[in-house]
Structures are given as structure tokens and as C-alpha cells.
């Protein structure tokens, strides 16, 4: 018998635990030529903002040992264009849609939460951790009192489950996680990218036009696993784990550490089929160790 792969998360049923990570998968159109998007547990869209944003000047990407830095800066068409032009495309598929929202102010978050709640998205992911924008973004995510404020306000307007995406650029991620939980978050997702930098030694200039950018990819996997492990012990709400997952075994580690769902981001750049291979890899692991359900994984770690 095949192990069951479906997961209930914040009251929403996912056919499998594998999502695509915000910003690495656009609004799904491009990857739909590689496979049927209905194969995915869910799709987390590119971060949207109240108004269209043009993003940062290029170069926006640099390579690092088993990782990348990006500084896209939330280029997106704005929430209204997303709802009218992109969401209908996504709703053709039998998969969950997670809206990733970013604001410059508390009221922008509230406004977006309200608007997006009336659309057909299944979950709201609040990005308070983007390292690539000046106002808002990561600033919100690195102080527990600000996290509490922005989450508790936004919560009032969110009529869909509200997942808060945490920044890894903090001294103690559990403190931030607890603040978000206390403010009413339905779940947490982690990690966003870690601030990094590369320099072109020929030109002596940073490779990224923003000087610094966010690190993602396999290099960050051990940091992401540690943070999911710490946060799992600190809160009761469920977690979406991400950061460096590129195969089924990475995802199993993330789930053992405490994630209910996992997201695959940067791995899509090396391998467009990565999310599907991650899903198949989790299933194979369950079969190999004769587990009947993916539920058995979350938090299954045996600590020393």
C-alpha cells in the first residue's frame, strides 16, 4: 500500500506536503509547461504588494558555494492585477494557492489581507522578512514587538489562515515565532533568505546592484533545519519548512525537525522538476521505512 501523502494544515487539506517557495515560481505559468501543477501540494506565489513594484536594478543574482544571492526587490504587478490576471490561471489546477503578501506599513498588510481574503486563495503568507526592500520587509520581522503588532493587526482582516514567514536574520528566532503565535498567526513559515554578499574581484564591485542580497539554496539547509527544530519546540502552531531543500531526503529532515509542509525554491533553478522529485522522494522514504502516512514525519526527531 502506498503511504498517504495528504496533510491538513491550518484547516486546509493539501494533497501532498510539497509547495513551491514564494518568488522562485512566479505565478506558476512558466513551470506549467514542465508538469501538471495539480501534482503539487500547493503553490506559493511571488510576493505581492498593494501597488505594482518594478523591483531593484540588475544584477539581481549571484552564485555562491551551493547557494545563490538574490535581490529582486519584490517586483510584482500589484495585488489587483494578481487577483484579476494571475489567480484565475492558478485556480484551473487542483492544488492549493498561497498568497505571499508584503507591505511597507501595518495598514498596507491589513488592506492586502482583507482584499486577498475575498479572493480564491487558500492561505495567506505574510512576508515580514524580505531582506531586499528598504521599508517594511525584514525590518518588521526582526523585532518581536513589531512582529506582534503587525501580525495582530493583520489578523483582524484575514479571513483565511494567516501564515507568518520568519526571517532567519535574527539572534533568537523562537522569540519572533512566539510573538507571531501570540499575535494570532495560524502557522509559521521559515526560513526566508539570509543576508549575504559577493564581490567581483575584477571590478571590485559587489555582484548585486543592491550590494547585498538574500542567500538561499542547499548552503542554508542546516541553518533552516536548526531554526525549524527550535521553533517547533517553542510554538504549537504548525510550520512550513523551507531553505535549501533539493531532494526528498532534505524534505524528510525538515519534516523530522518539525515542518508539516515543505517548500522548494532555489532547487527549481537547477532542476525544474525538483518539487515533483522531492514529493516522490518523500514517498519513497516512507515506503522504504514502511510508514503508512506522511504525518508520521512531522517532529519525529529523536533528540539527544
Amino acid at each position: 500500500m502506498k503511504p498517504t501523502m495528504n496533510v491538513e494544515f491550518c484547516g486546509v487539506e493539501f494533497k501532498n506536503p510539497v509547495l513551491t517557495a514564494s518568488g522562485t515560481f512566479g505565478f506558476g505559468r512558466e513551470y506549467s509547461s514542465f508538469y501538471d501543477l495539480s501534482e503539487l501540494g500547493g503553490i506559493c506565489i511571488k510576493g505581492i504588494t498593494p501597488k505594482k513594484r518594478i523591483g531593484n536594478p540588475p544584477p539581481r543574482i549571484a552564485e555562491t558555494p551551493m547557494g545563490i544571492l538574490n535581490s529582486v526587490g519584490l517586483q510584482n504587478p500589484g495585488i489587483d492585477a494578481f487577483i484579476s490576471e494571475e489567480l484565475p490561471f492558478l485556480k484551473q489546477f487542483d492544488t492549493r494557492v498561497i498568497a505571499n503578501i508584503s507591505g511597507n506599513t501595518v495598514s498596507e498588510y491589513c488592506e492586502m489581507a482583507e482584499k486577498i481574503s475575498d479572493s480564491q486563495v487558500d492561505l495567506i503568507e505574510m512576508n515580514i522578512s524580505c531582506p531586499n526592500v528598504k521599508a517594511g520587509g525584514m525590518a518588521f520581522g526582526t523585532s518581536s514587538s513589531m512582529v506582534f503588532d503587525v501580525v495582530s493587526e493583520t489578523k483582524k482582516y484575514a479571513k483565511k489562515p494567516l501564515v507568518v514567514k520568519l526571517s532567519p536574520n535574527v539572534t533568537d528566532i523562537t522569540e519572533i515565532a512566539v510573538a507571531a503565535e501570540n499575535a494570532g498567526a495560524s502557522g509559521l513559515s521559515l526560513i526566508n533568505t539570509i543576508l549575504g554578499m559577493r564581490i567581483d574581484i575584477k571590478t571590485k564591485r559587489p555582484i548585486l546592484h543592491q550590494n547585498t542580497g538574500g542567500l538561499s539554496g542547499p548552503a542554508v539547509l542546516p541553518i533552516a533545519i536548526r531554526m525549524v527544530y527550535q521553533v517547533k519546540k517553542a510554538v504549537k502552531i504548525p510550520l512550513i519548512g523551507m531553505g535549501g531543500i533539493s531532494c526528498g531526503n532534505d524534505a524528510v529532515e525538515m519534516m523530522l525537525a518539525g515542518a508539516s509542509l515543505v517548500s522548494v525554491g532555489t532547487a527549481c533553478f537547477s532542476n525544474p522538476m525538483a518539487p515533483i522529485e522531492v514529493r516522490d522522494g518523500i514517498q519513497k522514504y516512507l515506503e522504504d521505512c514502511k510508514r503508512s502516512s506522511v504525518h508520521d514525519l512531522c517532529g519525529g526527531l529523536i533528540e539527544y
Binding site: 523591483g55 536594478p57 543574482i61 549571484a62 552564485e63 551551493m66 545563490i68 538574490n70 527549481c268 533553478f269
Partner: protein, 257 residues
């Protein structure tokens, strides 16, 4: 449709110490090759990002494409060390190529700089008519594709920056001379940004439609991650389009150099 597939290396020739010419077996995909389109190649498991390389020629009947690349860093170095018979992970063909059809009867002018020459060669090859081609290189040892170009263009002018071969000087100086002498229906250019900018300015000055192929660092190569941004003049001011999806070829007058 962009596909992710395995391609076998059929032939390798070293055009210089640092420039390599590969023939890849890609099967049916060769049919979708077009001048200006490119492929994104995985350069070893330890490198996350694929390297975009232009298609330099294609044979749909043999199911092959040709690529020419220069060693610039670790990824292209890795690629240069691969052997005939080896398998490459290739994503492609990516992007919108040159719009070669629908030209008026006038000849076209092709302008190439350095490692931007392969797609220009391919474009010229696929454009009927008495077209001219100007190609510039750093120095004699960097000159590539000269033989091939002689077969497919009316006049081929090779320039070098240091005068060690052909005409001493910049391609754009030659382009201007040609524009003064003769009428062209269109200009197609690929090469360093400064060259593209100067070419675009000349095209504007002489009122000739011009298409340029841009470069930018890439993530996904399929239009999903938005990292390969290039500034394009839109109706509401400047906006970032994406080299992999909206390009790499753009109308020169839209590009904000």
C-alpha cells in the same frame, strides 16, 4: 516549449585556448532552435545556476545544435573540460530570437562583438539577401567564426581592438562608415553593452530598425524568478522586462541603455 533534457556532446573543437565549439545532440528540440534563442546548461553539480549560451547553429535533420562559448569563470571552465560522448543537462531553447522575417527588400546589417558573434552568425545565415556583417574582437587570437561568416554574408568586416588582425578599431566605427555609404533595412546586434548602445544610437540616427540581444545574470531561465531584469521603456515609464522570457532580443529603441 522549453524542455529540460540530456544532450550528448558529439563534437568539440577548441577555437582558441579559451573558446570552444560544441556540437550537441538534442533530438527533436533542434527544430525549435532559432537565431537569438539560447540554452541554459548545468555546469556541474556543485554549481546551482545554469549558464545561458546562445545557439550558434542548428541542424533539425541531424537533431543537433552548435554552441560556442568562452571561458569566463568556473562554470564555463567546467564546460570546457567535458569530453565528447559526455552528457550535459540542458534547458531550452529559451527566449525570443531575432525577428528576421518581414524585412523590406533592403539588405540587413549584422553587428557582432566578441562572444556575441555566434548568434549573429546564426541570424545572418538564416536571413536571405546581400547582407553585411561587421564583427569586432579584442585581438587576433579572439577572432572566431570568420570562415563560417564569409560563406553567409555579402561583405564581412573583422575588426580588432588592438589592430592585430583585420581592421584596427571599433565595430561601431565601421558600422557608421557603412551606414553613410549604403541603405540597410535593419540592424541586428549582439555583443558588449557599450557596443550595443553605440549601435542603437547609430540606428536611431539613421532611422534604421535595430534589434539587440542582451545579457543578464539568470536564475530560473524560464521567466519565473524575475532576476534577469533589463530596463525597458514602457508606456508608463521604465520597467524591468526579463532577458530570458521577454528577450534576449529587444527592439533597440525600447532598451534603456
Amino acid at each position: 516549449m522549453i524542455k529540460d533534457f540530456s544532450a550528448q556532446i558529439k563534437k568539440i573543437s577548441a577555437l582558441s585556448d579559451t573558446t570552444f565549439d560544441f556540437e550537441l545532440f538534442v533530438g527533436e528540440t533542434a527544430k525549435e532552435a532559432a537565431p537569438g534563442r539560447f540554452v541554459s546548461i548545468s555546469c556541474g553539480d556543485q554549481r546551482i545556476l545554469r549558464r545561458p549560451i546562445s545557439i550558434c547553429d542548428a541542424s533539425p535533420s541531424e537533431g543537433t545544435i552548435r554552441i560556442i562559448f568562452e571561458i569566463r569563470g568556473e562554470g564555463t571552465k567546467w564546460l570546457s573540460e567535458q569530453k565528447v560522448g559526455g552528457i550535459l543537462k540542458v534547458l531550452g531553447p529559451v527566449g525570443n530570437g531575432f525577428k528576421l522575417g518581414g524585412l523590406c527588400d533592403l539588405p540587413a546589417l549584422f553587428v557582432a562583438g566578441g562572444i556575441g558573434t555566434p548568434p549573429i552568425y546564426y541570424a545572418a545565415k538564416n536571413t536571405p539577401g546581400k547582407n553585411d556583417l561587421v564583427a569586432g574582437f579584442r585581438n587576433k587570437s579572439a577572432v572566431i567564426l570568420e570562415e563560417d561568416m564569409l560563406h553567409i554574408a555579402n561583405a564581412v568586416m573583422v575588426c580588432t581592438d588592438d589592430g592585430s588582425y583585420g581592421i584596427h578599431g571599433l565595430v561601431t566605427t565601421e558600422v557608421e562608415k557603412l551606414l553613410l555609404k549604403q541603405q540597410y533595412g535593419a540592424i541586428f546586434a549582439c555583443g558588449p553593452r557599450a557596443m550595443l548602445k553605440a549601435t542603437a544610437e547609430l540606428a536611431e540616427q539613421y532611422h534604421i530598425p535595430c534589434q539587440v540581444s542582451l545579457e543578464e545574470r539568470m536564475g530560473c531561465s524560464v521567466g519565473a524568478c524575475l532576476v534577469c531584469a533589463c530596463a525597458i521603456k514602457g508606456k508608463d515609464g521604465m520597467e524591468y522586462k526579463h532577458v530570458c522570457k521577454d528577450g534576449p532580443v529587444f527592439d533597440a529603441k525600447d532598451v534603456q541603455f
